[in-house]
Each structure stands twice: as C-alpha cells, then as structure tokens.
Symmetry: C2
Subunit: 895 residues, 2 copies
C-alpha cells in the first residue's frame, strides 16, 4: 500500500481529524475538524508533513505519487463546489485557492501564505464575469502577483510597494481602495515587468505551475533562517516538518457586504471572558494586520482608544455577527480552550478560515485555565497542564509595555528575567552612590561580575555583562536576587577610561538611560515603560491546585533572611542550599576572611575565625528564624580561598597595613594560592580537610544559632549540614568525624540537644558512581544527598560554564547541543550519573532524602526529570520557586 499524502476536507470527502496534527499540521487538522463539526469552512485539501520529510531527505523532490493525489483532491474540491461551477484554471469560472503552511506546532509569522492563486490574464476575465466586479477582480489579481512574487519567486516586495505608492500619488488618493480599475490594470502590467526584470523569467501564467510553485515555497520556508531561529528558541524539533493546506478562496473584498477579521473567544491579554476581535469591511485577510487601515472592533467589548469611533461588526453586518457568536461558542465548547479565529464574510455569508488555540499572556493563561475549571469546561489537571512553567515565570517579573516602541541595540543571553530601566553605571561603587545618595535607578554594566560587585548588584535594577554564560556569576547572583540580567552580551564594549558604553556605532555615556529585557535578552536604548503583572486570585487558586498535585517538594537556594522571606512568599518549603561563602563577602566580614586566608599558621587562622564566628552565627540565626521550622540545608565553605582575596594591588596594600604584615608577604601568599583550574582545585571539602578549623567554626556557628533560637524564641530547627565536592567516601568520613566532635562540644557547652543531619553534595562523577559507599553508614555515612548539577555538568562534560561562552553558540548553531546543558539537565550523561547515585544511595540507605540544588533545579524539563528519577525535592532561586512548583505538578500529571 502506498502512503496517502493528500487529505481532502469538504462535503465530498473529509479525511483528516483533530488528532492528526503531526500529519496534517495544526491548521489542516483543525480545518478537517471544523468541517466535521459542520462549520462553514471553504473546502480544500492538505498535503501532509510526510511530504516535507520526504522533500528534505530527497534533495527537495516530491514522492512520485503526489501529483496524482493532488489532481484528485482538486477534482474533489471542484465536486464540492459543483453548485458554483468553479473549476481550477477555468477561463470562464475560475476556482481560486489559498496555499498556506501549517506545522504541527503553531509557528506564527514564520510561514508565508499565498492567496488568490489561479489568477492570470485569462482567468481574471472569468472572475470578472462571475463576480461582476472588475475592480475586485483586478485588485485580487494585483494582490496575488505581489504575494506570489514575494513568497514564491523571492522578489523584493519593496519594488511593488513603491509602484503602488507612486500609483496612489499619481492618482492623488490615499487608500488602496480608492484606486480605479485602470490603475489596477496598470499595476498588474508593471508588477509583471518587475518580476521579469528581477528573475529573468515571465510570471507563471499556468495555475498548476503556480500551485506547485507555492507548495514548494511553503516546504522551502520550513528551513528559512527565521523558522530555524524560531524553532531553536522554542525547542521545536526540526524533523516534524510542515504540511501545506490548499483551500478554495472566499472573498472579503467583493464589496461592502464583505469583510474579513480575526477574533479571540476570550481576551488574550487579561483572560477575561469576553468575545474580542477586529475586522475590516471589503478587505482580504492580510489587510487586518497590515496596519494600513485601522481595523474596526467587532463589538463594544473590543473597543480601544484607536478604534472606538469605528462601526462594530454587530452593527455593520448583524446577521453575520450573530452567526459568528454562535460559532465561537460552539468552537470553545468543542476545543475546550480559548480560540483564535479567522473568518471571512462574503456577500453577507460567514466562512470560518481557521481556528486554533489562541496565544495569550501569562496572566490570561492562568485566568482562562481557572475560569474554565469553574465553568466546568476542563478539569483541574487539564488547567495545570494548560499553563507553561515559563509563563508562571513571566508573571513574577515586570515586562516591557508591549504598546511602546523599543530601540533594540543588541541581544545577550536572557540570564535573569524581567524588564528594567535605569541609568548606566560602570562600577558597583558608583551604583551604590547614585542609588543611595541620589535615589537614582541604575543598570550596572560590567565586562563580567565578581563577588566584589555584590553591593553594586544589590542596588542596581539590572545587570548587563559582556562576558559569561547562563550560569556565570552575574547570572546566578541576579537570579538569586530576582534582578533582571543580560549576560554574555558580546556586542557591547566598555571604555572604562571614557566611561562610555559602545554598541556598534552608538555610544552611551555613564548616566544615560538603558533598558534591559532579561526575559528576551534585548538591550534597549533609553527608557521603555514596563508593566508589572499582578498576582491575582486566579493565580492563587491555580497554585493551590498545583501544590495539591505535585509530589516533589520545592525548596529555595537562599543565603540571607531576605532571600528566605521572598522564597517563602513564593511558596518555598525549605532551604535546599545556603551558600555560606556569600556571607563572607559582606564588607564587614571580608577583612576577617582575608586575614584568615592569608594567615601562615593555625593560630592566626583561628584568631581570624573567632572574629567570623559571631557573624556566621548571626546569619544562621536570622535564616533559621525566617524559615520557621522548615528544613534548612547549609553548605560549608566551598570556593577556593583565592576568590576572597582583593584583585587590586591597592586593596592588597591596604590589607597588609591592616594586618600589620609586609605587603610582599601577602603577595607571596596570594601567589601560592593561585590555581590554573580553580574549579578543579583546592576547594569544597578539600579546604575542610586541609583546614578543619574553618569547618569547625562553621558547624559551631550553625549549632550555636540553633541553640540560641530554641532558647530565645522557643523555635526548633533541624539543620542539614552539607559537605561540598566529595569524590570519595573517606573525605566525608574524615570531615564528619571532626565536625561531630565540634557539634558535641557545642551541645555539651549549651547543655542542649539539637537534631541535625550531615550529608553531601553529589557534584562530581565519582561521587555519583560511588554513592553507595558515600551513603554507607560504615563509610561515608551521608544522611542526605543533594545534586550540584552545575559542577556535575561541568565535570561530566569537562566543560567550564564560565569559559563555554566562546564556543557554545557554535555548538548550538551547528546543532551539536540541542540545548545548553547548564540550562537544562543533560538527561543522557549527567542524568545517568544522577540515576546511579539515586539507585546506589537508596539501595544502601532506605528512604534517604535526595534533592537537587543546582541552577537547573528551577528549569521545568529538569524538574520533570528529577521527579521521574525519584528525587524528594528540587531547590532553586526564590523567583523560580513557583515555576518549579508548577513543573513538579505537571511532571506528576505527565507520568
């Protein structure tokens, strides 16, 4: 049996159905479905996505049986329209068709459409004879010539537009509709000359040749750069292909009893339940969006500032409007979702050209889902699946006012979402000064950020860096703070001497306004107004259902009481990662920290640590108090010590004076701390093993804080102490031994009992492989695991996230990586190691608690993966908590 490539829809034969989106594309499947629903749909046929696949596998050739199938489908079409007597290519009564693309996934704006196909100098006479409207016929003809030349023949449309503008100028008119038949005839002739000049060939007059040209153009457009980019951004696989739908034309431009329009069954911006749309009298589809004539509102609900003076459809063509209302209600009930409808009214009769699930804002998405549950249209589970995790993220951040213009300078990585405007500053001190002293809003622009920039990042509205990836310092810290951030924007240059930002030919001085859209990565000149979404009642209802559905717990990565508070507001159920080192960067501590690091002896180190102890204890006290009994996982010191040292000579000199040691001695000590590959160097538990006094101080601070909290506030806490960078169970065994000594000493001093657990990060391949030994009570005795997927990804791939910027784009461009593994867990490699660790850890220790605290812990696909391999919780930055909650619920429903 040969494969069927062409599927007719119409009265004669209706072969597709709604479920066949992969084969017929969204459009083709919906049209077939609408026909089956009994809606007034112009008949047609769909060439399946299989043909697209065949096309690209066979050097852009078609299957041999395709031509015959298409001929048969055209015959069916003519049979459907037998009452009208129209035939494809007929000089007397020509059947005109539209040719459109239709991928299984909606890819708006990406594919091109050809209308009125079948017209030529002969058939246009037939059209005139039938329509009795010479102007309409020539208008259709010149539209067809323009579109076809553009989409199929690749002729630049600007020449046609210029001719059209000139024609209007000559005629002294403003609107296309004011041109006479004579003008249009001239345009047709002139357009054909343009095509001949541009392509060296005459415009094809044969309707069949026109049809095959259009079909080829649709398939060809599947691989155009715009389509490739859209797919990459939206993670749509390339192999699914597009279908082509050929449909009999209906005309909204046959006179004033004709119209064409688009409508949404609910408000796509707010989600409010109101029928909402725009139309134009005597026009074809593309006129509505072209912006030449202001579209009219279909009803008073659709009024806005620019259209409220125009006549509505319910007034202009009330019967057709009535039909439209009946139909949209039928459609929404049938599809159980908000619909985006295209319709045409020809001589007063309504035709449905397309319906599909409408795009909507994040707020609308939640509102519609919740309303539809309340209306009994869908279940709670369906509602949960209707809202994407990324939409939830959008809801939490301001976005650019879509009605405002924006002057986009360049694009970087969308490292932390949200749109912000502020004055450019180039260093953290200026940022702090301007904000605190002048009350300015600032954007901190840096080559890259380091822990010394924290105070500047804290006060800035947003951060823009020239280097670094999605998990660079700037990106991670900004997400943690919920600040907008664009990272790795290599198009910007910073001239520090002149305090100027240069993008291409344009320069911006410090103090000029800049706008960042951290959601898209766009860097925009000047100010743009932003819109702050409200967390509505619908949002709260929705998240309640989400929480009832999910199994995975969601914690947050938080280092300060303030982080913790924000995260609890977003529904965090504990702290999965408190990075103690961030506490050491505070200005009042870094001095003591540096003294500790640059000490030559244990005694000196202990002296410095004594200064740090009360500060750390205070930190933990605050954090514990804020978390009100929820679990708190504290990771002991992780980064290599040299990260804490001053970068500048002057700072080192100041430190030497303060420490009363020779500058040269500090330089030498700093030199000995230098590492070639600090990521793989003297850090994590390696520090704890070399300098047990550091970890001793930290566990003392944790336990003392827990005791104090109990004594002063009567509040309990069960600290989870986490040892980083373990590769071998003996490391954990060693660290645990002396930590427990210190803990027991504290509890004896305080005369208290505090429950606590000691566990480890699983962030090295060897830790994952030997997870059994690490969990074994007699060996590593880890009481919990937490996956550090940043480091685990780095080591599994042998890939530094900080350095990957220089080639990652090549990898994504050349499709070597489908997705940046630092953004979404690599389920094949890193994921296998995670599965090993879960299996081996749980086999050794029944019911062991396992979580993830890497950056990917808030990324929906990674959350789903974590659910699948049986983790107990994910932990992510505070602003990602709602995203993770939703992703966890969806993972449950997806099974």
């Amino acid at each position: 049996m040969t494969t069927q490539f062409v599927y007719s829809f119409g009265a004669t034969k209706c072969e597709g159905e709604a479920s066949q989106k992969m084969l017929l594309g969204g459009k083709g499947a919906n049209l077939a479905d609408m026909v089956k629903l009994g809606l007034p749909v112009p008949p047609g046929f769909t060439i399946s996505t299989d043909v697209c696949t065949y096309f690209y596998k066979n050097e852009r050739k078609y299957p041999s049986s395709l031509q015959a199938e298409v001929d048969k489908a055209i015959a069916n079409l003519e049979k459907d329209l037998a009452a009208t007597g129209m035939k494809f290519g007929s000089k007397e009564n020509p059947l005109l068709v539209s040719v459109r693309s239709g991928a299984p996934v909606s890819m708006p704006g990406m594919m091109d459409t050809v209308l009125n196909l079948g017209l030529n100098d002969e058939t246009v006479q037939g059209l005139i004879a039938q329509s009795k409207d010479e102007r309409f016929s020539y208008d259709s003809y010149r539209r067809f010539l323009m579109m076809y030349s553009d989409v199929v023949l690749g002729v630049n449309t600007s020449q046609f537009e210029t001719l059209l503008e000139e024609k209007k100028a000559d005629a002294g008119v403003e609107l296309d509709t004011e041109l006479t038949v004579a003008h249009l005839k001239e345009l047709v002739r002139e357009f054909k000359q343009v095509v001949l000049a541009a392509t060296g060939k005459k415009f094809p007059e044969d309707p069949k040749e026109q049809l095959w040209g259009a079909v080829g153009a649709v398939f060809g457009s599947w691989m155009n750069p715009r389509a490739n980019t859209y797919r990459k951004i939206n993670s749509i696989p390339e192999h699914i292909g597009t279908a082509v739908t050929v449909q009999a034309m209906v005309y909204g431009n046959m006179g004033d009893d004709c119209a064409t329009g688009v409508a949404f069954t609910r408000d796509p911006s707010t989600g409010d339940k109101k029928f909402f749309g725009e139309f134009l009298i005597n026009a074809q589809g593309e006129d509505v969006v072209a912006g030449i004539r202001t579209p009219q509102p279909i009803n008073p609900e659709s009024f806005n500032d620019s259209n409220k003076h125009l006549p509505t459809l319910n007034k202009a063509l009330p019967a057709a409007y009535g039909d439209l209302v009946t139909l949209y209600q039928k459609l929404e009930k049938h599809y159980r979702d908000m619909q985006d409808i295209e319709f045409t009214i020809q001589k007063g009769k309504l035709f449905m050209l397309q319906t599909r699930n409408g795009k909507r804002t994040a707020a609308a998405s939640v509102k519609i889902a919740v309303d539809m549950v309340n209306e009994g249209l869908i279940t709670k589970e369906e509602a949960i699946m209707r809202v994407s995790a990324e939409q939830i993220d959008q809801l939490l951040h301001p976005r650019l006012d879509p009605s405002k213009k924006k002057d986009v300078l360049c694009k970087g990585l969308p490292a932390s979402p949200g749109a912000v405007t502020g004055k450019i500053v180039f260093d953290p001190d200026t940022a702090e000064k301007w904000v605190k002293e002048k009350g300015e809003k600032v954007i901190l622009v840096r080559i890259e950020t380091s822990p010394e920039d924290i105070h500047g990042m804290h006060v800035a509205e947003g951060i823009l860096t020239a280097r670094g990836g999605m998990t660079s310092h700037a990106a991670v810290v900004a997400r943690g703070m919920g600040k907008s951030c664009i990272a790795g924007c290599s198009a910007i240059k910073i001239l520090h001497q002149e305090r100027k930002l240069v993008v291409g030919q344009r320069e911006f001085a410090e103090g000029e306004f800049l706008t960042l859209d951290g959601t898209t990565g766009e860097v925009i000149a000047g100010k743009v107004e932003t819109v702050v979404p409200e967390l509505t009642g619908a949002f709260h209802d929705f998240m309640k259902w989400v929480d009832e559905t999910r199994r995975l717990r969601v914690r947050t990565n938080a280092d300060t009481p303030n982080d913790a508070k924000v995260a609890r507001h977003f529904g965090a159920e504990g702290i999965g990662l408190c990075r103690t080192e961030h506490m050491f960067f505070e200005p009042d501590r870094i001095g003591a920290m540096r003294q500790m690091i640059l000490s030559d002896s244990l005694a000196e180190r202990e002296k410095a640590l004594k200064k740090l102890l009360p500060m750390q204890r205070g930190d933990f006290f605050g954090l514990f108090k804020e978390m009100k009994g929820l679990p708190v996982t504290i990771r002991l010191l992780d980064p290599p010590l040299h990260e804490f040292l001053p970068h500048k000579d002057q700072d080192l000199k100041d430190l030497a004076r303060e420490m009363e040691v020779p500058y040269e001695q500090l330089v030498r000590r700093k030199d000995t701390l230098h590492e070639f590959n600090p990521m793989l160097g003297h850090r994590g538990c390696r520090l704890g093993i070399s300098f047990p006094e550091i970890y001793r101080m930290q566990v003392r601070a944790i336990l003392e804080a827990a005791c104090e909290l109990h004594k002063n506030e009567g509040q309990h806490v069960e600290p989870e102490i986490m040892i980083p960078l373990v590769a071998d169970w003996r490391e954990l065994h060693f660290v645990r031994s002396f930590c427990e000594q210190e803990i027991q000493a504290v509890l004896k001093e305080q005369n208290m009992k505090v429950p606590y657990t000691i566990g480890t990060m699983i962030e090295l391949p060897r830790a994952a492989l030997t997870a059994g030994e690490i969990a074994d009570v007699k060996k590593g005795n880890a009481e919990f695991f937490s996956f550090g997927t940043n480091d685990l990804t780095q080591t599994t791939y042998g890939l530094s996230r900080d350095d990957s910027g220089s080639f990652l784009h090549t990898y994504l461009d050349k499709k070597i990586y489908e997705v940046d593994p630092f953004v979404s867990v690599d389920q094949t490699g890193v994921g296998e190691l995670m599965r090993f660790a879960v299996e081996r850890g749980k086999a050794e220790r029944k019911g062991m608690k396992i979580g993830i605290c890497g950056e990917q812990g808030g990324e929906p696909k990674s959350v789903e993966f974590c659910h699948r391999i049986g983790l107990d919780y994910v932990s992510c930055s505070p602003y990602r908590v709602p995203v993770a909650r939703l992703a966890a619920a969806q993972a449950c429903l997806r099974k």
Copy 2:
C-alpha cells in the same frame, strides 16, 4: 573453638608451615619450615599476626587466652632443650631468648629485635655457671640491657654508648672485646641507673615481665612512623599486622670457636651464582652490621677491597663452613629462590637463625630469574613473576653509585627516574647556551616549566621544579624524553635576580653542581658518581619470555622520530599517542602558530596554517618512516590556544612587529582567549568545531605524509586519527565529516588510496557513559577508543592535577587516598567509567580496538587493570615501555 594464637617450632612440636606467612609472618613461617626441613634451628614459638590485629582493635590489649598459650609454648621450648636442662628464668641454668618482629611482608630495618632476653642479676650467675665464661655472660647482659632499654623502654641509646666509650677511654682500650669483666659489671650497674633516671622505674628483673614488655614493643613498633612510612612507600596494607617470634638464643660470642654471619646464596648485586657473605668471630648478630669491626668474608668469592686481607670462614671454621654450604644449597633448592641467610656458630656448631628470599638489585633480579629457569629450578612463568615492573624501570636508568656518599638537600616528587649530575641553570636559554657552546652538562631548575622551556629541557641532564605534581608539564615531558626529573620540590627557592638556588640555609649559585635522583626524589649537593646498568643477555632472554606471555600490546606516546626510535628500541609496538601540539612549540613553528591563533579572520588563519602544513607533513613523514609500518595514532590539536601565546610582554611586542599589527590588538586578542579553567575550556575537538581549518590542515598533513612515504619509500602506514575531548557523539560526527572531506580531497589529488581510521579519546565521564553512541556507525562512528586517563581522572574527581599539589600530601597523610589517582588508575570510580566504555563500545562495534594513552598506561597496577577489563593495548612514554611489557605479562599470569 578458641583461635590458636601461638605456634611452636622445634622438635617437640612444629606447628607452622611456609604457606602461613600471613599468620606467622615471613620469619615465623620460614623458621617453622626450616625446622620441618631438618635444619639446625634453635627452637621457639611465634605469636601470630592475629594478635597484632586484636591488639590494635582493642586498645592495645591481648586476647585473654594468650598468656596461657605463651606459657605452654615456653614449656615446649624447655622440653626441646631438655638435654641442656635450660629453663626460662632459672637462676641455675637460664634459658635466654630472642624476641623479633616478623611481618608477612619483609620490612627490613623497620622492626626492632631484643636478644639475650631473660638475663638479670641472678640469672647471669647461672649463665656464668653454665658457660664457664664470666666475660661472655656480662657482655651478653650489658648488650641485653642496652637493647631492651632502647627498644622496649624507649631510653635514648646515646647515653649507653657514651658510657661505653668513656669506659673504653678509662681502660685505655679501643674495642668492646678488650673490656674486662670488671668494666662490664660496672657498665651493667651504670646502665641500670640510666634507665631509672630516664624512666623513673627500675629495670625489670623478672624474665616474664621482660618477655611481655618485648612482645608489646614489637607490636607497638608496627605503627611507628618509620613503619608507617615504609608501608606507604611500598604500598603495604596496614591491616596485615606483624607476628612476634621468640626463639632460644644461641651464642656467637662465647669464644673464638663461635661466630655469627649473614650470607646470600647468590650475589645480590649482580645476580652471579656465587655463595657470598660476611661473618665475625666471637660476636653477636648486630656486630656484623654495626660497622665497629670489619666483617670477614666467608670465602674468597666474598672478597672486596676492605676485607680481602681478613681470614675467611672456610679457613677459620672449615667444618661449620662445610655445613653452611650444604645447607644453603638445600635451602635454595627448597625455596627455589636466592636466600638471605643469618647463621650463628656456637662452639663450632652451626645454627640457622633465619632465611628469607634475598633483596637484590634490578640487574640481579633479572639475572637470577633467568639463571634459575636455565637451571631448571623455576619455570619461565615464575621467572616473570619474580621481577617487579619497577625493577625493570630501574634497569633503564642510571642510578647513584651506592658506594658513594651523598649530601641530600631535600626531597621532591620522583617524577622521572634516573640519577644525573650537572651545573645549575635557571632558564632554558642559558641551558641551551651552556650545553651547545661550552659542552657543559646542566640541570634546569625552574619554579615550573611551560612549553616554552622545551628547548632547555631537551639539552638538560635533568629538571628540578619547585611546583607541580607527578603529571605536571615538567614531569610528563621529562618522562617522555627519558630525562631525570624531580617535581614539586617545595623546599627549594629560586632567587632569579641573584641567580641563586636556596634550600634552607644553603645557597647555590648558577653554575654550581647539583645531583638529582629522579628515582627517589632526592636533590643532592655537588656531584655524585652514577652507575649505568647494562641491558644484558639475561635481560633480553627475560623480555622475550615476557613478550611471549602477554596479551596486551604495548605502544608508546611519542611526538618525534627520535622518541619513536627510542621507544622501538624498548620494544614499543606502535605509537598510541602522538601529540601534534608539541610539534608547534619548535622555535621555527611557534611564530606561524601564534599568527594563526591571533588572526581575526578565517583567511588570515588559513594563511598561517599554510605555513604550518609542510612542517606538520614533515613531522608525520619522519614518524611514519621511523615506525616502519607499525600503527601510529595521531591526536589532533588538543590544548587551548592561549597555551601557545607568549607569556612575556616583550615577546608579544616582537610578535606584533612581525605580524605587522598593533601591539594593543594582540593584547586584546590574547585577553579574549583568557580562560578561568582552561582544562575545561576551549580545547580538544571544541577547537576543531570552532576552527575546522586547523583540523583540516592536520589531516591533510597526515594523509599527504602517508602518500609521500608510499611514493618515495614504498612503505605503508595506516594512520589512526584521534579526536580529543569528545563528550557527545555529535561532536565526533561533525569533526569526522569535514575531516573525511579533506582526506578524500587529498587522496584525489594524490590519486592514491591510504587506509585510515578515525577514533576518539575517551577522557570525559560523558564520553565513557555514552560510548555506545560514540561508537555507533550511524552516530559518532568512532573506529577506535583510547582512554585519556589523565583528563578522565581530573574530571571524574573534579581535581586538577596541576593544582592538587597543595592538598594531595594531606590526602595521602590522612589516608584519604591510598595512592595518588594520577599515578595509578582509580579502579573504583574512573575504572567503572572505563568498564562502561569498553562494554558499551564493544557491544556497539564488535572487536573494536581500545587502548589507553594516559600517564598511567605505564604503571604496573594500571596495566593489570587494563588487561583485566579487556583493552587491546596500553601506550606509555618510551622509557616505560619495558615496564608495561612486563606488567602486561604478569597480568596474564596473575589472571
């Protein structure tokens, strides 16, 4: 049933046997065996190693049944000696014993011995009565006091020696033997006072108390620092414990018909088949090694410069000598190995105190093994197992003349074996100048080396660095060149301004002599003569058997025709790793390489590559030619590009002038190449993917060289092209595609066919995990794998070998690592990944060739592991090839 802890040996009962070394220690098992053989061995008993284990598990207590067992064993002993009437503790006829340690593995010099135990002020009278020799009795008594006080009571022996010296001075004599009974009696009294003063307790008079004290001291010495160090160096596990052997004393010091001595059944230095030993008349065991009297040769074969004037044993005591000869022949036949014998002659009667397999030099080891095969004593297989892989290594390098004194300054890591002497130089240019212009021999002393030092390393005798580990640049390159190297010697300081080397308080100017022992890591002041071992006929016979036995092939890592030649001389069967980047550091190439790197455009890069092409082609031609048809694996460019750039500003300025571009531009370009973690950065196949033109040039050079070789020399070669740092099959797929294009282009130009394969390094955890996909013909299509265990270890552990120096010693000290994972493959973690890769690779591709080219490819335990998991070959530096061959053969025999 209670465990038996004490095993008697003697006529009454002989409970142990040779196979029970783990239980009775080497000494105890051998004594029992000798008794069973019918040799004249003083009777005694052995307290098993189980007691040692118990001792350390139970806070240094003994099993409850031990005392009764010891008492019973003493009773057996007395029964054996019934003819003499001796009883332990008897005042009339005391039985004296020796107490010695005896671990399952020989640990010479590490454990302490107590002789003459059982003497006190009363029993000494009994000894006098029985021996009728008051002087001998008091001499034995004062010896016992000295030894016991030292070993058991921990009293510093120097006080005893001072008293002894004073006594001799007072008496006006030179030798101990010249002291009178009166002197000895005084010494006994004085010694006891010393003990009282030092310990606050009287010297124990009760023989039983003495015995238990000695037993405790032996067990206690198992954990003394010397023992711990010896075990660490020799990889002897701690848990095996030591046994204690208690044996009836026999006396070599009862007069001139008494003697004591040691002998080897063959020459331990050369392996020659001659009976060889030393003895002293009227002496106890320790006198022979104490160096106070020059020991006499047992026979003319044992003559040397310092003893040839002394009477031999065969002359002095011919009957006893005759017995000794009969016995040694019996022993060697029985043990089928060269024996190290301790004997005592008491009143003309020969007693055997100990026999064990004798320590021997590497050369002797091979010679004895081969001779014994020829004598029919052992099989070839046994011979192969008798020689350790490390001994083979020693054979290939000069070593310090053991007869010369050495002034050891400090120790570093024994990074590349061999002993060398030369003048200190501090930079490669001086090294080259002094060697080439003055014909000097130099030692290059550097903080650390970089690829820019290669020319200096090439001419130096040896390399000494202050930083870096066993796999630092200096270490790896030196091993490759077969040069002596001591790395990471943190005790040295280099004062570049003053051109001085400082070690502690001592300074050495440039030009002063220094000696390095790369085998031990010792840095020695001045010149020391060295001995160059010859590769004898026995060596060649031995290696022939080795090659007949092994399954694993052994290749070499070689970058130049000269390396290749050396390696072939050592038996390499191909090149497993040719690092093409080393070729770019040659002075005539680095310029073009730098131009290529600093180019801003493809066109400029291609221009620079065009200059490099003929050079690379020449390299490969030379290498192929040298390898005479053996397989050659060439790894395409691996290191990050910034490694090739000049480190100094001046060099960069010179380069700018040469390239005719502004200096600032080069600085900027260099800055953009900077990486935080270059090991995880833009290197390996990532370079090939970003800059395909580099790899294209390289494969072109390879194929053109192969064609040229065929045309000009009629010689075939099948190049194996290896792609480094693959983490995902798509990377290999991409690189393979464009490489094959280039290859096909070359073959078409040359109108030839050259067989070739393309494979990959497995050096990242993800590569090991996804080895199936990487091997899959439809995906990565790797035709061979080669494990890069350096990088695989780095990434599996998240541990940079270059930076690990700062904490690795702590890890080894604290026993967190048993062995440096960069020296020997971590079989648990890294090994599991290797097993995955082998299984998954071979499952996908039957009979796929898999090797290893990491540093560990020449380390015996790693070689054995590679054999066990089914690799096809190992590849190592040229000088390690014979080691790997032997290790491979032993792996086969070990199963």
